[in-house]
């Protein structure tokens, strides 16, 4: 599967990029986050992160599809 990942805030700083195309065997956000957190050194555990796929919030076990745009959202600080 091939996904487009977008990174924001400290995750973008840590990954050193705002987006990447990734080929992976991960089929759910949970597996994908484990993979990229290890590679990029993300410190957030999954209970502090939300996941969006194609602009909508989803659960950690959501079934991903080829070409999905995926965002792992660290805790927000607007306002």
């Amino acid at each position: 599967m091939r996904y487009k990942l977008l990174y924001f805030a400290s995750l973008a700083d840590r990954a050193g990029r705002a987006e990447e195309m990734r080929d992976t065997s991960a089929r759910a956000p949970r597996d994908l986050y484990t993979e990229i957190a290890r590679q990029h050194g993300f410190a957030f555990s999954t209970d502090r992160i939300r996941v969006a796929v194609n602009g909508a919030l989803v659960g950690w076990d959501h079934a991903l599809a080829d070409g999905d745009e995926i965002v792992f959202l660290p805790p927000v600080s607007g306002g």
Binding site: S10, P74, G78
Partner: protein, 147 residues
Amino acid sequence: MKRFRLSDAVIDAGAEKRALEHPAAGGCVTFEGWVRNHNEARAVLRLDYQAYAPLAESEGEAILEQACATFGLRAARCVHRVGALSIGDMAVWVGASADHRGAAFDACRWIIDEVKRRVPIWKNEHYADGESGWLHPDSTPVDPSMI
């Protein structure tokens, strides 16, 4: 017209307030969030806001929709800045109009609290000592109701 917007330009509070007008409304309550020069005892020089725009807009709209239904509002609006801001700049504007003041006060407070809790916007503070950092303030787990 969208009730929730992200803006990379100065917020026109007067124009936003006029959009709250309604013949049945007895008043409105507005909130302006400003960039302050300190945070947790550190001197702040300026800051940047970043947003995941598609989700920020849909979450913001959902919050205003929910506020209108819950508090019986005549109108509700919110604008949040993105990009580079200076001390004193307006970072966020919230307004709610209702038949009576109680609902307008309660809704305005609820809206800004929900925006801060749910909408994917992040603040990067630049400090006087040259450091900077993205704020991810809450050390508690994500509320499952937000997913």
